[in-house]
Protein backbone atom coordinates (compact mmCIF):
# COMPACT_ATOMS: atom_id res chain seq x y z
CA UNK A 1 0.00 0.00 0.00
CA UNK A 2 1.04 3.58 -0.44
CA UNK A 3 -0.26 7.04 0.32
CA UNK A 4 -0.32 9.11 -2.85
CA UNK A 5 -0.16 12.78 -1.86
CA UNK A 6 0.13 13.97 -5.46
CA UNK A 7 -2.94 12.32 -7.02
CA UNK A 8 -6.13 14.36 -7.35
CA UNK A 9 -8.67 13.13 -4.85
CA UNK A 10 -12.17 13.97 -3.62
CA UNK A 11 -10.94 13.03 -0.16
CA UNK A 12 -7.16 13.41 -0.01
CA UNK A 13 -4.79 11.82 0.33
CA UNK A 14 -5.38 8.96 -2.07
CA UNK A 15 -4.44 5.62 -0.52
CA UNK A 16 -3.77 2.76 -2.91
CA UNK A 17 -3.51 -0.90 -2.00
CA UNK A 18 -2.33 -3.82 -4.10
CA UNK A 19 -4.73 -6.55 -2.97
CA UNK A 20 -4.06 -10.27 -3.31
CA UNK A 21 -6.92 -12.78 -3.66
CA UNK A 22 -5.53 -16.31 -3.31
CA UNK A 23 -3.33 -16.10 -6.39
CA UNK A 24 -4.80 -13.13 -8.24
CA UNK A 25 -4.00 -9.50 -7.59
CA UNK A 26 -5.52 -6.09 -8.34
CA UNK A 27 -4.99 -2.48 -7.26
CA UNK A 28 -7.67 -0.46 -5.50
CA UNK A 29 -8.26 2.85 -3.83
CA UNK A 30 -8.68 2.50 -0.10
CA UNK A 31 -11.63 4.26 1.55
CA UNK A 32 -12.67 5.17 5.06
CA UNK A 33 -11.27 6.40 8.34
CA UNK A 34 -7.93 4.99 9.30
CA UNK A 35 -6.88 4.12 5.78
CA UNK A 36 -3.42 5.63 6.09
CA UNK A 37 -2.72 3.22 8.94
CA UNK A 38 -3.23 0.00 7.02
CA UNK A 39 -0.05 -1.96 6.55
CA UNK A 40 1.27 -4.76 4.37
CA UNK A 41 -0.48 -8.01 5.25
CA UNK A 42 -3.69 -6.46 6.62
CA UNK A 43 -6.97 -7.93 5.40
CA UNK A 44 -9.41 -5.68 3.56
CA UNK A 45 -13.00 -5.94 2.45
CA UNK A 46 -14.81 -4.13 -0.34
CA UNK A 47 -17.32 -1.34 -0.56
CA UNK A 48 -19.02 0.09 -3.67
CA UNK A 49 -18.01 3.76 -3.72
CA UNK A 50 -17.78 6.84 -5.87
CA UNK A 51 -14.53 6.62 -7.87
CA UNK A 52 -14.79 9.52 -10.33
CA UNK A 53 -17.12 12.41 -11.04
CA UNK A 54 -17.10 14.10 -14.40
CA UNK A 55 -19.63 16.69 -15.64
CA UNK A 56 -21.90 15.80 -12.75
CA UNK A 57 -21.92 12.09 -13.59
CA UNK A 58 -20.69 9.77 -10.85
CA UNK A 59 -18.85 6.56 -11.53
CA UNK A 60 -18.98 3.93 -8.80
CA UNK A 61 -16.63 0.99 -8.36
CA UNK A 62 -15.17 -1.18 -5.63
CA UNK A 63 -12.84 0.34 -3.07
CA UNK A 64 -10.97 -1.57 -0.42
CA UNK A 65 -11.78 -0.69 3.19
CA UNK A 66 -9.94 -1.80 6.29
CA UNK A 67 -11.56 -4.99 7.54
CA UNK A 68 -13.97 -4.31 10.34
CA UNK A 69 -13.02 -6.28 13.42
CA UNK A 70 -16.29 -6.47 15.31
CA UNK A 71 -19.92 -6.42 14.29
CA UNK A 72 -22.55 -4.94 16.55
CA UNK A 73 -25.52 -7.37 16.42
CA UNK A 74 -27.93 -4.44 16.82
CA UNK A 75 -26.74 -2.44 13.82
CA UNK A 76 -24.92 -5.20 11.91
CA UNK A 77 -21.98 -2.82 11.42
Amino acid sequence: MTVDRLAYSLDPPTVIAVVDFDGARASFEVADGDRERISIGDEVEFSFRRLHTSDGIHNYFWKAVPRRRTIDPETEH
Partner: protein, 393 residues
Protein backbone atom coordinates in the same frame (compact mmCIF):
# COMPACT_ATOMS: atom_id res chain seq x y z
CA UNK B 1 12.38 -15.44 -28.51
CA UNK B 2 15.94 -14.40 -29.17
CA UNK B 3 17.91 -11.57 -30.68
CA UNK B 4 20.94 -11.70 -32.94
CA UNK B 5 22.28 -8.32 -31.94
CA UNK B 6 24.15 -5.87 -34.15
CA UNK B 7 27.40 -5.50 -32.21
CA UNK B 8 29.81 -3.09 -33.93
CA UNK B 9 27.72 -2.85 -37.10
CA UNK B 10 26.51 0.71 -36.57
CA UNK B 11 27.93 3.75 -34.84
CA UNK B 12 26.89 7.18 -33.62
CA UNK B 13 28.92 9.86 -35.37
CA UNK B 14 27.29 13.00 -33.97
CA UNK B 15 24.96 13.97 -31.16
CA UNK B 16 23.10 17.01 -29.89
CA UNK B 17 21.26 17.64 -26.64
CA UNK B 18 19.52 20.82 -25.55
CA UNK B 19 19.86 21.96 -21.97
CA UNK B 20 16.95 20.43 -20.02
CA UNK B 21 15.05 23.36 -18.57
CA UNK B 22 11.76 25.09 -18.08
CA UNK B 23 11.94 26.31 -21.66
CA UNK B 24 9.14 28.88 -21.48
CA UNK B 25 10.50 30.62 -24.58
CA UNK B 26 11.04 27.52 -26.72
CA UNK B 27 8.40 25.44 -28.50
CA UNK B 28 8.63 21.74 -29.33
CA UNK B 29 9.69 22.81 -32.82
CA UNK B 30 12.46 25.04 -31.40
CA UNK B 31 13.79 22.26 -29.19
CA UNK B 32 13.84 19.80 -32.10
CA UNK B 33 15.63 22.25 -34.37
CA UNK B 34 18.16 23.05 -31.61
CA UNK B 35 19.00 19.39 -30.93
CA UNK B 36 19.24 18.46 -34.63
CA UNK B 37 21.31 21.57 -35.42
CA UNK B 38 23.81 20.86 -32.65
CA UNK B 39 24.03 17.26 -33.79
CA UNK B 40 24.77 18.18 -37.40
CA UNK B 41 27.19 20.96 -36.42
CA UNK B 42 29.54 18.32 -35.04
CA UNK B 43 29.94 16.40 -38.30
CA UNK B 44 30.45 16.77 -42.03
CA UNK B 45 26.94 15.49 -42.72
CA UNK B 46 24.18 17.89 -43.70
CA UNK B 47 20.46 17.59 -43.14
CA UNK B 48 19.97 16.47 -46.74
CA UNK B 49 22.33 13.53 -46.18
CA UNK B 50 19.99 11.97 -43.64
CA UNK B 51 18.00 9.19 -45.31
CA UNK B 52 15.41 8.63 -42.59
CA UNK B 53 14.44 9.84 -39.14
CA UNK B 54 12.87 8.40 -35.99
CA UNK B 55 11.33 10.87 -33.57
CA UNK B 56 10.39 9.77 -30.09
CA UNK B 57 7.76 11.66 -28.16
CA UNK B 58 5.30 10.43 -25.61
CA UNK B 59 2.85 13.29 -25.93
CA UNK B 60 4.42 16.37 -27.52
CA UNK B 61 3.43 15.53 -31.06
CA UNK B 62 1.69 13.04 -33.27
CA UNK B 63 3.14 11.30 -36.32
CA UNK B 64 6.32 11.96 -38.29
CA UNK B 65 5.31 15.51 -39.11
CA UNK B 66 6.32 16.37 -35.54
CA UNK B 67 9.86 16.43 -36.94
CA UNK B 68 9.55 16.88 -40.70
CA UNK B 69 7.69 20.20 -40.37
CA UNK B 70 10.14 22.04 -38.10
CA UNK B 71 13.12 20.64 -40.05
CA UNK B 72 11.30 21.40 -43.28
CA UNK B 73 12.34 18.16 -44.93
CA UNK B 74 10.08 15.68 -46.70
CA UNK B 75 11.59 12.37 -45.60
CA UNK B 76 10.69 9.05 -44.00
CA UNK B 77 9.97 9.96 -40.36
CA UNK B 78 8.62 7.44 -37.87
CA UNK B 79 7.10 8.67 -34.65
CA UNK B 80 7.93 6.37 -31.71
CA UNK B 81 6.11 6.04 -28.38
CA UNK B 82 7.05 3.46 -25.77
CA UNK B 83 6.37 5.01 -22.37
CA UNK B 84 9.51 6.43 -20.74
CA UNK B 85 11.70 4.29 -23.02
CA UNK B 86 10.46 6.34 -25.98
CA UNK B 87 13.76 8.09 -26.77
CA UNK B 88 15.72 4.86 -26.39
CA UNK B 89 13.36 2.98 -28.67
CA UNK B 90 13.65 5.71 -31.28
CA UNK B 91 17.41 5.11 -31.21
CA UNK B 92 16.99 1.34 -31.32
CA UNK B 93 14.77 1.37 -34.39
CA UNK B 94 16.98 3.87 -36.21
CA UNK B 95 20.09 1.77 -35.51
CA UNK B 96 18.35 -1.38 -36.75
CA UNK B 97 17.37 0.31 -40.01
CA UNK B 98 21.04 1.03 -40.74
CA UNK B 99 22.12 -2.45 -39.66
CA UNK B 100 19.49 -3.92 -41.97
CA UNK B 101 20.99 -2.05 -44.91
CA UNK B 102 17.81 -0.10 -45.59
CA UNK B 103 19.53 3.27 -45.10
CA UNK B 104 23.10 4.59 -44.86
CA UNK B 105 22.53 7.61 -42.62
CA UNK B 106 19.70 8.00 -40.13
CA UNK B 107 18.86 10.21 -37.22
CA UNK B 108 17.17 9.32 -33.93
CA UNK B 109 15.57 12.27 -32.20
CA UNK B 110 13.58 12.62 -28.99
CA UNK B 111 11.62 15.54 -27.59
CA UNK B 112 9.20 16.34 -24.82
CA UNK B 113 7.74 19.56 -23.52
CA UNK B 114 6.18 18.96 -20.13
CA UNK B 115 6.31 22.35 -18.47
CA UNK B 116 3.45 23.82 -20.49
CA UNK B 117 1.05 21.51 -18.67
CA UNK B 118 -0.61 22.83 -15.51
CA UNK B 119 0.19 19.48 -13.87
CA UNK B 120 3.61 18.92 -12.32
CA UNK B 121 4.38 15.40 -13.45
CA UNK B 122 3.94 13.15 -16.42
CA UNK B 123 0.59 13.22 -18.16
CA UNK B 124 -0.80 10.85 -20.75
CA UNK B 125 -3.96 10.52 -22.77
CA UNK B 126 -5.29 7.01 -22.43
CA UNK B 127 -7.89 5.38 -24.67
CA UNK B 128 -11.45 5.45 -23.31
CA UNK B 129 -11.96 2.70 -20.74
CA UNK B 130 -14.74 1.45 -18.47
CA UNK B 131 -14.03 4.05 -15.81
CA UNK B 132 -12.80 1.63 -13.16
CA UNK B 133 -9.09 2.38 -13.57
CA UNK B 134 -7.48 3.51 -10.34
CA UNK B 135 -5.73 6.86 -10.68
CA UNK B 136 -2.40 6.76 -8.94
CA UNK B 137 0.66 8.78 -9.76
CA UNK B 138 4.09 7.54 -10.80
CA UNK B 139 5.67 8.36 -7.41
CA UNK B 140 2.97 6.30 -5.68
CA UNK B 141 3.45 3.34 -8.02
CA UNK B 142 7.25 3.37 -7.62
CA UNK B 143 7.06 4.05 -3.88
CA UNK B 144 5.96 0.43 -3.42
CA UNK B 145 9.55 -0.64 -4.09
CA UNK B 146 10.99 0.97 -0.97
CA UNK B 147 9.12 -0.77 1.86
CA UNK B 148 9.12 -4.03 -0.12
CA UNK B 149 12.91 -3.91 -0.47
CA UNK B 150 13.39 -2.94 3.17
CA UNK B 151 11.17 -5.77 4.38
CA UNK B 152 12.74 -8.42 2.16
CA UNK B 153 16.33 -7.57 3.10
CA UNK B 154 15.79 -6.50 6.69
CA UNK B 155 16.55 -2.77 6.47
CA UNK B 156 15.14 -0.60 9.20
CA UNK B 157 13.37 2.64 8.32
CA UNK B 158 16.38 4.81 9.08
CA UNK B 159 18.80 2.75 6.97
CA UNK B 160 16.34 2.73 4.07
CA UNK B 161 16.11 6.53 4.35
CA UNK B 162 19.93 6.81 4.30
CA UNK B 163 20.16 4.64 1.17
CA UNK B 164 17.52 6.59 -0.75
CA UNK B 165 19.05 9.87 0.40
CA UNK B 166 22.49 8.80 -0.80
CA UNK B 167 21.15 8.07 -4.28
CA UNK B 168 19.46 11.49 -4.55
CA UNK B 169 22.49 13.23 -3.05
CA UNK B 170 24.89 11.48 -5.45
CA UNK B 171 22.86 12.30 -8.57
CA UNK B 172 22.47 15.95 -7.57
CA UNK B 173 26.22 16.15 -6.85
CA UNK B 174 26.86 14.90 -10.38
CA UNK B 175 24.22 17.15 -11.92
CA UNK B 176 25.82 20.17 -10.26
CA UNK B 177 28.80 19.55 -12.56
CA UNK B 178 26.70 19.45 -15.71
CA UNK B 179 25.74 22.69 -17.48
CA UNK B 180 22.97 20.94 -19.42
CA UNK B 181 21.20 19.64 -16.29
CA UNK B 182 18.06 21.39 -15.06
CA UNK B 183 19.14 21.35 -11.41
CA UNK B 184 22.77 22.36 -11.07
CA UNK B 185 23.19 22.55 -7.31
CA UNK B 186 24.30 19.94 -4.83
CA UNK B 187 21.64 19.22 -2.20
CA UNK B 188 22.52 18.49 1.43
CA UNK B 189 21.55 15.06 2.75
CA UNK B 190 19.45 16.52 5.58
CA UNK B 191 17.47 18.57 3.06
CA UNK B 192 16.80 15.43 1.02
CA UNK B 193 15.81 13.36 4.07
CA UNK B 194 13.47 16.01 5.45
CA UNK B 195 11.72 17.05 2.24
CA UNK B 196 7.93 17.15 2.13
CA UNK B 197 6.29 13.76 1.52
CA UNK B 198 5.02 12.93 -1.97
CA UNK B 199 4.04 9.27 -1.87
CA UNK B 200 4.65 6.55 0.70
CA UNK B 201 8.19 7.00 2.05
CA UNK B 202 9.22 9.13 -0.93
CA UNK B 203 9.87 12.81 -0.40
CA UNK B 204 10.30 15.48 -3.03
CA UNK B 205 13.99 14.75 -3.54
CA UNK B 206 13.29 11.06 -4.11
CA UNK B 207 11.48 12.04 -7.31
CA UNK B 208 12.97 13.10 -10.62
CA UNK B 209 12.13 16.54 -11.92
CA UNK B 210 9.96 17.68 -14.80
CA UNK B 211 11.63 19.46 -17.71
CA UNK B 212 11.54 20.31 -21.40
CA UNK B 213 14.27 19.02 -23.68
CA UNK B 214 15.34 17.33 -26.89
CA UNK B 215 18.27 15.23 -28.06
CA UNK B 216 19.46 13.74 -31.36
CA UNK B 217 21.92 11.13 -32.64
CA UNK B 218 23.26 10.58 -36.14
CA UNK B 219 23.81 6.90 -36.92
CA UNK B 220 25.76 5.33 -39.79
CA UNK B 221 27.30 1.97 -40.73
CA UNK B 222 30.45 1.23 -38.72
CA UNK B 223 32.56 1.05 -41.90
CA UNK B 224 31.50 4.59 -42.85
CA UNK B 225 32.40 6.40 -39.62
CA UNK B 226 35.61 7.88 -41.04
CA UNK B 227 33.59 10.13 -43.34
CA UNK B 228 31.90 11.81 -40.40
CA UNK B 229 34.08 11.81 -37.26
CA UNK B 230 37.31 10.62 -35.68
CA UNK B 231 35.56 9.70 -32.44
CA UNK B 232 32.52 7.51 -33.12
CA UNK B 233 30.51 5.64 -30.51
CA UNK B 234 29.82 2.03 -31.47
CA UNK B 235 26.57 0.23 -30.66
CA UNK B 236 27.32 -3.04 -28.86
CA UNK B 237 23.81 -4.06 -27.81
CA UNK B 238 20.20 -2.94 -27.95
CA UNK B 239 17.61 -4.82 -25.92
CA UNK B 240 13.98 -4.16 -25.18
CA UNK B 241 11.49 -6.07 -23.06
CA UNK B 242 7.79 -5.27 -22.79
CA UNK B 243 6.43 -7.15 -19.81
CA UNK B 244 3.32 -9.23 -19.31
CA UNK B 245 1.91 -7.03 -16.56
CA UNK B 246 1.64 -10.11 -14.35
CA UNK B 247 3.30 -8.30 -11.46
CA UNK B 248 0.08 -6.36 -10.89
CA UNK B 249 -2.20 -9.35 -11.60
CA UNK B 250 -0.63 -12.28 -9.77
CA UNK B 251 0.46 -12.48 -6.15
CA UNK B 252 3.99 -13.85 -6.58
CA UNK B 253 5.61 -10.53 -7.57
CA UNK B 254 7.30 -8.92 -4.55
CA UNK B 255 8.07 -5.37 -5.81
CA UNK B 256 11.81 -5.82 -5.22
CA UNK B 257 12.85 -6.25 -8.87
CA UNK B 258 11.85 -5.39 -12.43
CA UNK B 259 11.74 -8.74 -14.28
CA UNK B 260 11.65 -6.74 -17.55
CA UNK B 261 15.00 -5.15 -16.66
CA UNK B 262 16.57 -8.48 -15.76
CA UNK B 263 15.40 -9.88 -19.10
CA UNK B 264 16.55 -6.94 -21.24
CA UNK B 265 19.90 -6.76 -19.41
CA UNK B 266 20.56 -10.47 -19.99
CA UNK B 267 19.83 -10.00 -23.68
CA UNK B 268 22.09 -6.95 -23.91
CA UNK B 269 24.98 -8.64 -22.09
CA UNK B 270 24.70 -11.63 -24.40
CA UNK B 271 24.71 -9.42 -27.50
CA UNK B 272 27.74 -7.49 -26.28
CA UNK B 273 29.58 -10.50 -24.86
CA UNK B 274 29.68 -9.10 -21.33
CA UNK B 275 30.07 -11.67 -18.56
CA UNK B 276 30.59 -9.46 -15.53
CA UNK B 277 28.92 -6.06 -15.95
CA UNK B 278 30.40 -4.49 -12.82
CA UNK B 279 33.89 -5.40 -13.98
CA UNK B 280 33.46 -4.87 -17.71
CA UNK B 281 31.46 -1.63 -17.84
CA UNK B 282 33.11 1.73 -17.20
CA UNK B 283 29.90 3.41 -16.05
CA UNK B 284 26.13 3.34 -16.46
CA UNK B 285 23.28 5.76 -17.07
CA UNK B 286 20.10 4.34 -15.55
CA UNK B 287 16.47 5.32 -15.11
CA UNK B 288 16.49 7.00 -11.68
CA UNK B 289 12.89 8.20 -11.94
CA UNK B 290 12.68 7.67 -8.18
CA UNK B 291 15.44 6.78 -5.74
CA UNK B 292 14.19 3.24 -4.98
CA UNK B 293 14.14 2.57 -8.73
CA UNK B 294 17.88 3.16 -8.95
CA UNK B 295 18.42 0.96 -5.87
CA UNK B 296 16.57 -1.98 -7.40
CA UNK B 297 18.18 -1.44 -10.81
CA UNK B 298 21.65 -1.97 -9.34
CA UNK B 299 20.62 -5.56 -8.62
CA UNK B 300 18.54 -6.13 -11.75
CA UNK B 301 21.44 -4.99 -13.95
CA UNK B 302 23.86 -7.26 -12.08
CA UNK B 303 25.97 -4.46 -10.58
CA UNK B 304 25.19 -5.74 -7.06
CA UNK B 305 24.24 -9.12 -5.65
CA UNK B 306 20.59 -9.53 -4.62
CA UNK B 307 20.05 -7.80 -1.30
CA UNK B 308 23.44 -6.06 -1.46
CA UNK B 309 22.76 -2.91 -3.50
CA UNK B 310 21.79 -0.88 -0.42
CA UNK B 311 25.20 -1.55 1.10
CA UNK B 312 26.99 -0.78 -2.18
CA UNK B 313 25.09 2.51 -2.40
CA UNK B 314 26.14 3.51 1.12
CA UNK B 315 29.73 2.42 0.39
CA UNK B 316 29.89 4.85 -2.53
CA UNK B 317 30.37 2.17 -5.19
CA UNK B 318 28.14 4.13 -7.61
CA UNK B 319 29.47 7.60 -6.79
CA UNK B 320 31.33 9.59 -9.45
CA UNK B 321 34.66 8.52 -7.90
CA UNK B 322 33.40 5.04 -7.01
CA UNK B 323 34.17 1.67 -8.52
CA UNK B 324 31.17 1.82 -10.88
CA UNK B 325 29.85 5.36 -11.47
CA UNK B 326 26.10 5.45 -12.08
CA UNK B 327 24.42 8.49 -13.60
CA UNK B 328 27.59 10.60 -13.86
CA UNK B 329 25.59 13.26 -15.74
CA UNK B 330 23.16 13.70 -12.85
CA UNK B 331 20.43 11.37 -14.12
CA UNK B 332 16.73 12.07 -14.27
CA UNK B 333 17.10 13.52 -10.77
CA UNK B 334 19.11 16.47 -12.10
CA UNK B 335 17.82 16.62 -15.66
CA UNK B 336 14.14 16.06 -15.15
CA UNK B 337 12.42 13.64 -17.47
CA UNK B 338 11.20 14.93 -20.82
CA UNK B 339 10.06 11.45 -21.75
CA UNK B 340 10.95 11.33 -25.44
CA UNK B 341 14.38 12.86 -24.87
CA UNK B 342 15.63 11.04 -21.76
CA UNK B 343 16.94 7.86 -23.39
CA UNK B 344 18.93 9.88 -25.91
CA UNK B 345 20.17 12.18 -23.11
CA UNK B 346 21.66 9.11 -21.43
CA UNK B 347 23.42 8.17 -24.66
CA UNK B 348 24.62 11.78 -24.95
CA UNK B 349 26.48 11.39 -21.66
CA UNK B 350 28.17 8.25 -23.02
CA UNK B 351 29.06 10.23 -26.13
CA UNK B 352 30.60 13.05 -24.07
CA UNK B 353 32.43 10.73 -21.68
CA UNK B 354 33.99 8.70 -24.49
CA UNK B 355 35.20 11.87 -26.20
CA UNK B 356 36.62 13.38 -23.04
CA UNK B 357 34.06 16.22 -23.23
CA UNK B 358 32.44 15.65 -19.83
CA UNK B 359 34.24 18.51 -18.08
CA UNK B 360 34.33 18.24 -14.29
CA UNK B 361 32.47 14.91 -14.43
CA UNK B 362 35.00 13.33 -16.78
CA UNK B 363 35.76 9.71 -15.91
CA UNK B 364 39.16 8.15 -16.50
CA UNK B 365 39.25 6.68 -20.03
CA UNK B 366 35.81 5.06 -20.13
CA UNK B 367 35.48 2.42 -22.86
CA UNK B 368 32.17 0.67 -22.39
CA UNK B 369 28.93 2.04 -20.96
CA UNK B 370 25.35 0.94 -20.37
CA UNK B 371 22.16 2.95 -20.64
CA UNK B 372 18.92 1.69 -19.11
CA UNK B 373 15.53 3.26 -19.51
CA UNK B 374 12.18 2.02 -18.27
CA UNK B 375 8.54 3.04 -18.49
CA UNK B 376 5.35 1.98 -16.82
CA UNK B 377 5.42 0.96 -13.18
CA UNK B 378 6.80 -1.88 -11.06
CA UNK B 379 4.95 -5.02 -12.12
CA UNK B 380 3.88 -3.65 -15.50
CA UNK B 381 6.59 -1.98 -17.54
CA UNK B 382 8.89 -1.81 -20.55
CA UNK B 383 12.67 -1.81 -20.17
CA UNK B 384 15.41 -0.85 -22.59
CA UNK B 385 19.12 -1.58 -22.18
CA UNK B 386 21.87 -0.46 -24.52
CA UNK B 387 25.61 -0.98 -24.42
CA UNK B 388 27.88 1.38 -26.29
CA UNK B 389 31.63 1.60 -26.61
CA UNK B 390 34.36 3.91 -27.85
CA UNK B 391 36.05 1.35 -30.10
CA UNK B 392 35.42 -1.78 -32.15
CA UNK B 393 35.81 -5.19 -30.56
Amino acid sequence: MASHGIKDRVAVVAMGCTPFREHWDRSVDDLLVDAVSECLAGTTAELGDVDAFWVGTQGSGMAGVTLSKPLHVAAPVTRVENFCATGSDSFRNAAYAVAAGAYDVVMAVGVEKLKDSPYSGLTATWPPADGTRVDWTAPAAFSLLAPAYAERYGLDESTLRDVLTHIAWKNHQNGALNPRAQFRRAVAKEVISNAQPIAGPLGMYDCSGVADGAAAALIVRAEDVGRYTDNPMYVKALALTSGTGDGLRADDYLFTSFPEVVDSAADAYRQAGIENPRRDLSFAEVHDCFTPTELVLMEDLGFSERGAAWRDVLDGVFDLDGEMPVNPDGGLKSFGHPVGASGLRMLFECWQQFRGDAGERQLDKPRLALTQNLGGQPGDCVSFVSIVGDRLG
